[in-house]
Subunit: 434 residues, 2 copies
Amino acid sequence: VSSGDTHRAVLKPVSFLRQVLAVCVYPELLEDKSLPLDVKIRAQKLLEACDGGSVGSYTASSGLSHVRQSIAEFITKRDGIPSFAENIFICAGSQRIAVKLLASGEGTTRTGVLIPAPCPHTLYPLLDEADVVLVPYQLMEEKGWAVELDKLHQALQANRRNCEPRAIYISNPGNPTGHVQDRKSIEEVIQFAAAERLILLVDEVYQDSVYGKDREFISYKKVLFEMDKEYAETVELVSFHSLSSACVGECGMRAGYMEVVNMDPEVMYYFDNTLCGDISTPVTGQLALDLMVIPPQPGDPSYDTYIQVRKQQKPAVTLFTLATLSHNAKRVQEFLNKLPGVSCQPAMGGIYLFPRLHLPCGIKEQAKVGNVPKIMKPYELCTAFCIVSKKVTLVLLSHRLCILVPSDTLDEVLARLSSFHCRLLGGTVTPRDA
Amino acid sequence: VSSGDTHRAVLKPVSFLRQVLAVCVYPELLEDKSLPLDVKIRAQKLLEACDGGSVGSYTASSGLSHVRQSIAEFITKRDGIPSFAENIFICAGSQRIAVKLLASGEGTTRTGVLIPAPCPHTLYPLLDEADVVLVPYQLMEEKGWAVELDKLHQALQANRRNCEPRAIYISNPGNPTGHVQDRKSIEEVIQFAAAERLILLVDEVYQDSVYGKDREFISYKKVLFEMDKEYAETVELVSFHSLSSACVGECGMRAGYMEVVNMDPEVMYYFDNTLCGDISTPVTGQLALDLMVIPPQPGDPSYDTYIQVRKQQKPAVTLFTLATLSHNAKRVQEFLNKLPGVSCQPAMGGIYLFPRLHLPCGIKEQAKVGNVPKIMKPYELCTAFCIVSKKVTLVLLSHRLCILVPSDTLDEVLARLSSFHCRLLGGTVTPRDA
């Protein structure tokens, strides 16, 4: 339940995407009468974009030019700001590659990267491997995990002597916080990055999963390019998107892309070069990206089915929809806030909630003598909660809770969570909602 | 023509493999009446092996356990020696990962890796990235590029002070040489590795492409495990195989595996761990590996088509067969040996020939004043030849020539090669076979 893996959570994949890929894998299906016409036309077009007309061929390391072009068109349309295929790099693990490129130095000259606290759980091993210094900036829980300028300055001041800060990592919509930044907040971060000469590394993989009231996804690139020239033409920005993200959720296909703007031409050369030295992205994943950014259009035979799945208003059991996500987020947050010793900020986007656990001191002491791991094990199992002690206070911080699940699974998770939580607290309190 | 990319070379993929994958991608095809029964049964089985029954789910980083088990069974059957799933690691770029694990030290304590000269063209960037010291051992051209024990000792002696040699890389069947080692030669290399405490890194990706008279593929693991206990139980071996290799040739699917035996448990821990820190292999690629190692069996509806493609005796235009490969190898080698200033050893396996060019001194001098690159450009374009100067003699060494092409493409390549080569030599000589 915690992995954010759509298909493992028994939610159905987008059938248009799977149909087109099946034809690309086995082109004899072009003769199949049961498949919609637009599926076949699209498959034919994608096959023509592959070397030798086959998904079995190598591609350029930075990706198929047809797909890079599709992505650039998608971004242009999304932002109303031109995007160019040569700035798009298709790759699995693009964040890993981007960070590796930045890493340099030794001792106090090592590259520092500002990262949010809390941050996506994949970020630590990634930065660790790249051998950069982590400079955490605290997000403001009481403001729904918003980014605060003061905390950015504090983090930078406290770490300037340990390393050479060269980049700031942002997760928006926030993983695991569910926070979605507004334009003003994004502008502040951009101004900060400009003043401190930091590269912006922006994880925008949940851009299609914003459901908060009066919130919309605004990309960092759009905000940047609508600011004054001094920012729009200078601030270096890398934005990440992924096939594994919520609405498509093709985690097993291993593909994503990054758009790189305003980058120093010398660094850009290394982007091209390091990618070229690396292995290319699986072709089916690349084609799936094309289908993600250019879905069926009104009038296409597949449009109605596609839009029905995406826009369905009533929470469904087996189909993932934005409405389901919004509904789950609200329901789980309310549930958690009624549990004794638990609090949780409302989410505006993404697929996680990030509750806080205030556990009694007794548990903390048990943890010290090594008893808690045993207690915690079933807790983790039943809820994907994981309790981490914080240095400063007695409050324990819990792990992210994924809400990308069908309603009936969610029922079971909440019931088990509630029952375990009460057992943990000694059975003295009963939950007010189970 | 030089990339070894089957599908780009307009050769058809294995239809059984593509059919099963299409069903896995779009499981509604299980209802399709035109697909063979064994295709559907296999697809069903593979889908059950995926988390959530979908190719869209993440897998364990070391791969799907079902596929690891299939690979272990394939190896057991191939060698008559037990292989175990826990020693199989599925990954794209497995060589990169293995080498990275070995890399350590600085200055004269840096890890040294013995590599053949000539070696696969992908090996240099890979080892370079891992920051290890390259210790080249010369293969014996006049013996068809055989591995010679003397050369291994020489290479080690000459470099022992620069680095700490910890591994020896072998390509068998040889890329780009086409040499296939016999049991005696493999035993010698194993004894050498044992005496010098080197890990064997064996690229065996062309194991299904041996066509030399009286030559067969024998795996290093088979030879090792049939040797005395002092070797069989101690010599550390990593063997690599890939979906991109000749007979399946699914380069675009990005998957391969390594089998690791006799490895120090502490190192084995890092194998597991580094792989876990890394991204998992695309699921369709993993499933394709399963289909590569367990193809249709006699009696299966797809068996006849499959075996017809694999064993077809007459060289075909659009289907790749071992017979085509063997025929091409002989034809190109004879052709090259008739060109003035060119010689080429016969190949026994793999998909490359590695001809030698003896160019007149005039050309060499032009190279010094920078004229040759211009001349070489069309040479590369038309033949995938690339000329590299050698330090010791005036003889220039050419690049590998891929023979994995349909006959008509080969006709054109040879005609253009011949015509360009004669123009380069001043048009004074005409080829004896064009």
